[in-house]
Amino acid sequence: MDIESNRKLLAQALVRVANGDRTALQTVYRLTSTKLFAVCLRILGERAEAEDTLQEVYMTVWRKAGQFAPGMSSPMSWLIAIARNRAIDQLRGSGQRRSMDPIEVAAELPDDAPMADSTLQSVQEQARLQTCLDGLAGHERAALRGAFFDGNTYEELAERMNVPLGTMKSWIRRAMSKLKKCLGP
């Protein structure tokens, strides 16, 4: 299946989930659970916790599918946001701090082969974001990476990169402003 038909299938399944269709939730799960599990696992770093969180993610999808607005959001972006938020809630709730190794800007490497996945997310969107991320300063990109992939807070990022909290906040805000300008409205 190509990206477009998968995305369409997913969007239609979400509409049916909003309508209380259990089979449709299974379709959403079949199409997206490997990606969302990987997202949870990446943030939480621990399988059992990631499995519990993944269950919560799809229960959230079940309850909130009616809030998915196809005109504003791609289905995969909407689902990834739910997975990241649930994983971050779990991370903060557990009171543990993980992924606290110092971030070395020079050693910054992609999480894995970039553009590894093209089944549900548009390659053009990935490429556009990558171009804009490449346009950031190294320390800005490294800070965003720690937040996005490790679920770090401002405080944790400041600690990992050994800068004052205020500096970290201005790095992130400036980076987000540049990103928005680069990506367009």
Binding site: T34, L41, M72, D117
Partner: protein, 233 residues
């Protein structure tokens, strides 16, 4: 790296939305952002836009198959009874992205669907699109013999002195007049049995621009500005 001037700074709400989407907020700040998402639509939309910008980054994360018991646990936790009525009600948020500015209209459609659903009928919907815009969203309840049409992005296509008229085009058939639409409010039109029986998932709804009072010929006389197929909801 080039410096950015003050004009390029994000607004306060944009900063908060970006921080929430990125996930750098803690405790009270994060909870406060979530409360705003729940009650402030424009703020929630900013967060959605940031999720859209950032989520392609997740393509870097290599997929991992979860163990089968995760789905088994989810399936066991789902309610046995279908949530059809509530589901229809909630699915109204679906129009949100479509019916820009049509809050009241969406509420009218919500009420329509809600009461329609109580009647156990199966509504059909059509997104009527033209010129790259979704201009109306129609909900057909063939059993009750009604059709509710919510204006979405119609204003962009509006022509002074012309009114939008709705047509039902059965599969392989000619356009049949349904009624006149409004640019700014939901219109509920009666669908007589002769029309209702033709309103099925093979039929198409179309909107043309007509003189005030509508076409007098029984056929569209002005330009067709949009159309969309009926689908079961």
């Amino acid at each position: 790296m080039s410096d950015i001037d003050e004009n390029d700074e994000l607004s306060g709400d944009e900063v908060l939305a970006a921080e929430y989407a990125l996930g750098v907020l803690t405790g009270i700040e994060r909870a406060a952002a979530e409360r705003r998402i729940a009650r402030d639509r424009s703020f929630a939309d900013l967060v959605v836009a940031w999720n859209e910008r950032l989520s392609p980054w997740a393509a870097e994360i290599v997929e991992v198959t979860p163990p089968p018991q995760v789905w088994e646990r989810i399936a066991a936790a789902l309610p046995v009874e279908p949530q059809r009525r509530v589901g229809l009600w909630q699915s109204l948020a679906l129009w949100r992205g479509l019916a820009a500015g049509g809050v009241l209209a969406a509420a009218c459609l919500a009420a329509f669907l809600y009461f329609g659903a109580l009647d156990q009928s199966a509504p059909m919907i059509a997104a009527i699109e033209g010129g790259g815009h979704r201009i109306f969203v129609a909900t057909v309840d063939a059993k009750r013999g009604t059709i509710a049409v919510v204006p979405a992005d119609y204003a962009a296509n509006a022509t002074p002195g012309r009114v939008p008229e709705l047509w039902l085009i059965p599969a392989g058939g000619k356009p049949l007049p349904v009624g006149l639409l409004s640019a700014d409010r939901t219109v509920v039109l009666a669908l007589p049995p002769a029309l209702a029986e033709k309103a099925d998932p093979h039929a198409v709804l179309a909107v043309s621009l007509e003189p005030p009072g509508g076409s007098t010929t029984g056929r569209p006389t002005g330009p067709v500005i949009g159309s969309g197929g009926l689908t079961n909801l």
